[in-house]
């Protein structure tokens, strides 16, 4: 089962499966239905952190240093607690500026500097290529181990083996092909690879399952559980220290250094930056991934020590490399299937790392190393070339192949050397050098390009001197004197006891000196001069990335560019079709018809630049855009002014928004109050005018009759009596008018006296009908009463309700046809109160007048032969009374068929509630 053809077939099948998943993921992404839109997949993709260095290497390190392997996973656990801040900010910055790699990130922060991007790329390549070599080594040596099955023979490479016969060479080539297909399918401004992420997440699951399977097999299959393994240790006193103590060579300092180092590595390793920041689909995934990823790390480490101890005890004295225990323990127990699963797990760990790391590095090499150089070559005239998208893809593919071949070469060269074995932490220390420039750049506005360059360079040199070169010396590639005597024999320059610093492990030593140099140079040089325009601009873009406001970059651009030029420029790098789509999309999003405009505004220029930044890096993008846009440079004063304003605006914008909201509300209130006042004024004016009119009319008759009587003492008695009678009735009318006007005024102003008590409405109605019976008798009208007994009481003012009833009844009487009048008064029970209706068979009220009659002095007399008598205040007063008591008064009428006035009143509240002054319900 473990013969070469089977291994090859299984490996190829597995890679094929990965490719299918990746292809599916890309398809789904193209259709906008992201396969990886899940925090779990996001967390699994972060687990690309666990390479073969973890899968096989952890057990190896545990066999030497006990729990000393753990800090490498505790650091990431801790940093993920802060991921919500640091990673979120990085994600925001990357998305807003279309940054595609860590080199681009640093270059963009410090004024889009080519030099800085190039330096970061070189550091990354130097630091990471050996790490890739380590993966190749792990994969090829496990193949070697499996091929010797059932024997367990440690593979020993012969340096003379030809490349063509070397299995790891083919592995490198296959991985290169695979990476090319995954990573450079097409050029994208965002440079995201959803399919790849899906495949990586799958690989992470496979390696976790495989490792736990071995752990369970060793712990519970070969031994009787955790306790059993540790019990067996009693017979191996030489192993006991592994399980019980922090390794002596490491100490608490080394432990702490490893936590810091791994915490930085999990943020700044190119592959981690790629999956955690660049490939992030949704920043809310961070929330769950923040604990899922640490949980993954915990799970994959639970069985490391048991496997290591089990292996050490099982293979005691057999010369089996502890790095291979994960594979050799199942082999020793003839567990072929488990061994194959382990191999696939290790393959996952190795290929996952290689693919992501290579894609990240190739993007950096292309955008930050090769393109800037090519664009600078006037001879090639690339800047004028029509379509560069093909060239860009070729460069990336070339970079992938070169990086993997470099890894292979390093692997061939280093072999079993210390330099390769220790590369995990050496790589970590290399990328940790990015930390000051990145973290400083995200939180400190003062960092400059010079500072970043000096810091990176200093840190890189110290790292090389205190960690990389010593590893070469330990591999025998450099004279050992270098280590023991120091450079040129100067004792103070001993690379791992620099300036006499001793007593700490090499990692802590390197970390201390390199960070001292790095941070010192970064801060020191930055403080030499104030940031320049471009640096200050980008500082604001980065530092304020979490502020909720639009990108500030566009504000800081002033110049002229033609839309067509910009589109053509973008088309040269992304391909004309993609450029067209992108520009059309921009125009759509911004509502305006940007495409029709000849001149591009600052935002469109910014957009074009960010499109290009995705393809060729931000520094090159800036140079390219500058070539078609005539920028009018802003002076540092102007920029600082804009930035100051912008940051002040940001600081105060929320306050300002709040204030302006308050102001708007206040203005609105004021306007409403004013309108109410004006309305009141108008109403008062109208009422005064109406009241005046209503008062003058009876006064006119009274005065005229009085004068007639006065001027003619000999007037006939009948005339005299008639006139005196009219004077009296007009006086009564005047009195009524004055009383009602005052009454209404009192009700409206809320100064009316109310004597609220529980009332039997039936009794009130009967009393009112009795009081008006004379009116109906005069008109020879018939009054029907339909008043059920035992209805609930209502809360009201007896006199006021009688006033309402009298008004409605006299109104009805007024309009009854003489001789054949009928009035029907009904009392009905409703769900929440009682309803009274007074129906007459008079002329009715036109629909358009049915509300008018409730307005003051609005008597509607058009259909009547004579003007109705009355003051025009009865209905308005009645309505106000009913509304005050929580009810409603309205009229229903069909002209010609009479009118029905209805009003409702709510039941009296429960007895335990206060019975007294009622609040108005309206």
């Amino acid at each position: 089962m473990l013969q070469a053809p089977v291994l090859i077939a299984v490996s190829l099948l597995y890679l094929g499966l990965l490719f299918a998943v990746a292809w599916w993921g890309d398809r789904r992404a193209d259709r906008g239905r992201s396969l990886i839109d899940s925090p779990t997949i996001y967390a699994l993709s972060m687990a690309v952190y666990c390479t073969t260095w973890t899968f096989y290497g952890s057990v190896g390190r545990a066999a030497v240093s006990g729990i000393g392997f753990l800090p490498v996973y505790l650091g990431p656990t801790l940093v993920m607690a802060l991921g919500w801040f640091i990673l979120l900010k990085m994600i925001r910055i990357v998305k807003a500026n279309r940054i595609t790699s860590i080199a681009d990130f640093i270059s963009s922060r410090y004024g889009k500097s080519h030099l800085l991007g190039g330096l970061v790329t070189i550091i990354a390549v130097v630091g990471i290529v050996p790490y890739i070599a380590l993966q190749l080594k792990a994969v090829s040596s496990t193949v070697g181990l499996l091929l010797s099955y059932p024997e367990i023979v440690m593979p020993h490479r012969s340096p003379t083996m030809s490349v063509a016969a070397d299995i790891s060479f083919y592995i490198a080539l296959i991985l290169a092909a695979f990476t090319i297909v995954f990573g450079t399918r097409h050029l994208d401004a965002t440079e995201r690879h959803e399919g790849m992420v899906a495949a990586i997440a799958l690989e992470s699951s496979v390696k976790l399952v495989a490792f736990i399977a071995v752990g369970v097999f060793v712990t519970y299959g070969m031994y009787g559980g955790f306790g059993d393994i540790f019990e067996h240790l009693a017979t191996h006193p030489e192993l006991q220290r592994l399980a019980t103590a922090i390794p002596s060579g490491q100490g608490y300092t080394g432990w702490f250094s490893l936590i810091v180092l791994s915490a930085l590595a999990v943020l700044f390793l190119p592959r981690q930056f790629q999956v955690a920041v660049v490939e992030n689909v949704n920043e809310s995934h961070l929330r769950r991934a923040a604990w899922l990823f640490p949980l993954y790390l915990l799970l994959i480490n639970v069985f490391v020590l048991p496997i290591a101890l089990g292996g050490l005890m099982h293979f005691s004295g057999q010369g089996v490399d502890a790095d291979t225990f994960v594979l050799t323990l199942p082999m020793s127990q003839r567990q072929e299937g488990l061994a194959l699963l382990v191999f696939i797990g290790g393959l996952s760990a190795g290929t996952g790392m290689v693919i992501v790391e290579t894609i990240a590095l190739s993007t950096m090499v292309c955008n930050d190393l090769v393109m800037p150089l090519l664009l600078r070559q006037r001879r090639l005239a690339l800047a004028e070339s029509k379509d560069l998208s093909g060239l860009l893809l070729s460069i990336r593919r070339g970079a992938i192949v070169v990086i993997l071949l470099l890894g292979y070469c390093y692997f061939r060269l280093a072999g079993e050397a210390y330099a390769l074995v220790a590369i995990g932490l050496i790589s970590f220390a290399a990328v940790a050098q990015f930390a000051p420039a990145i973290i400083g750049g995200m939180y400190w506005r003062g960092g400059t390009r010079g500072g970043a360059l000096a810091g990176l360079l200093a840190g890189f040199i110290v790292w090389g001197y205190t960690l990389l070169l010593p590893s070469f010396a330990k591999s025998g590639w450099l004279p050992n004197d270098f280590l023991t005597q120091g450079l040129f024999g100067i004792d103070l320059l001993r690379p791992q006891q620099l300036f006499g610093l001793s007593g700490i492990d090499e990692i802590s030593h390197c970390l201390f000196w390199s960070f001292l140099a790095n941070i010192g140079a970064y801060v020191g040089v930055s403080l030499l001069r104030p940031p320049m325009v471009a640096e200050a601009t980008q500082a604001t873009v980065f530092v304020d990335a979490l502020q909720e406001s639009g990108p500030i970059g566009a504000v800081l651009w002033r110049g002229r560019a033609k839309v067509s030029d910009l589109q053509e420029l973008v088309g040269r790098f992304l391909g004309p079709a993609r450029a067209e789509v992108a520009f059309a999309g921009y125009a759509r999003r911004h509502g305006g018809r940007q495409g029709d405009k000849l001149e591009a505004d600052a935002r469109l220029v910014q957009f074009a630049e960010s499109l290009l930044a995705g393809a060729i890096g931000s520094a090159s993008a800036r140079v390219m855009v500058a070539s078609v846009a005539k920028e009018e440079p802003l002076s540092i004063e102007e920029v600082m002014h804009i930035l100051d304003e912008a940051s002040q605006l940001r600081t105060y914008s929320r306050e300002l928004e709040r204030k302006s909201r308050e102001l708007t509300a206040a203005t609105l209130e004021l306007r409403e109050a004013n309108e109410r006042l004006q309305e009141l004024d108008r109403v008062k004016d109208d009422i005064m005018s109406s009241v005046t009119h209503e008062l003058r009319t009876p006064l006119t008759s009274i005065r005229a009759f009085s004068e007639l009587l006065r001027d003619d003492p000999k007037m006939h008695l009948p005339d005299r009596e008639r006139f005196l009678g009219l004077i009296v009735s007009e006086t009564e009318r005047l009195t009524r008018l004055i009383n009602q006007t005052l009454d209404l005024a009192k009700i409206e102003s809320g100064r009316a006296d109310w004597n609220a008590c529980e009332l039997d409405l039936k009794e009130v109605i009967e009393q009112s009908v009795a009081a008006t019976s004379q009116l109906f008798r005069e008109k020879e009208a018939h009054v029907d009463l339909d008043l059920p007994d035992n209805l609930p009481l209502i809360m009201g003012d007896r006199d006021r309700l009688i006033q309402v009833m009298l008004n409605l009844l006299s109104n009805a009487a007024k309009f009854l046809p003489p001789g054949s009048g009928r009035v029907r008064v009904m009392l009905r029970l409703l769900a929440d109160g009682l309803q009274v209706s007074v129906t007459d068979n008079g002329p009715g009220i036109r629909p358009q007048d049915q509300e008018l009659i409730f307005e003051k002095f609005r008597q509607v007399g058009d259909t009547m032969t004579a003007k109705p008598s009355g003051t025009g205040l009865g209905l308005p007063i009645s309505r106000r009374i009913v509304e005050y008591l929580g009810g409603r008064l309205w009229v229903e009428s069909v002209p010609g068929e009479g009118a029905t006035f209805l009003f409702t009143l709510p039941f009296a509240p429960q007895r335990e509630l206060a019975v007294g002054q009622q609040e108005p319900a309206a």
Binding site: A81, A245, Y252, W291
Partner: protein, 66 residues
């Protein structure tokens, strides 16, 4: 907004708790040759602390209320 700030503060607290639990001097307290349930003290301690920190982070990230 309030909830987000609370969650953020809880995460920072988890970070600080982790920093203390995973380092000297607390580490040295458990760094001695004794066993708990047959498992070496330091090994058990680190994994226990690890689970605790992850649980804190999960609680800070996922808790919807309070």
């Amino acid at each position: 907004m309030q909830r987000r700030i609370l969650g953020r503060d809880r995460l920072i607290a988890a970070f600080l708790v982790g920093c203390v639990l995973f380092n000297y001097p607390l580490l040295s307290v458990f760094d001695r040759p004794s066993e708990i349930f047959g498992i070496p003290m330091i090994f058990a301690y680190i994994f226990f602390a690890w689970v605790l920190v992850i649980a804190l982070m999960a609680w800070a990230s996922e808790a919807r209320s309070g």
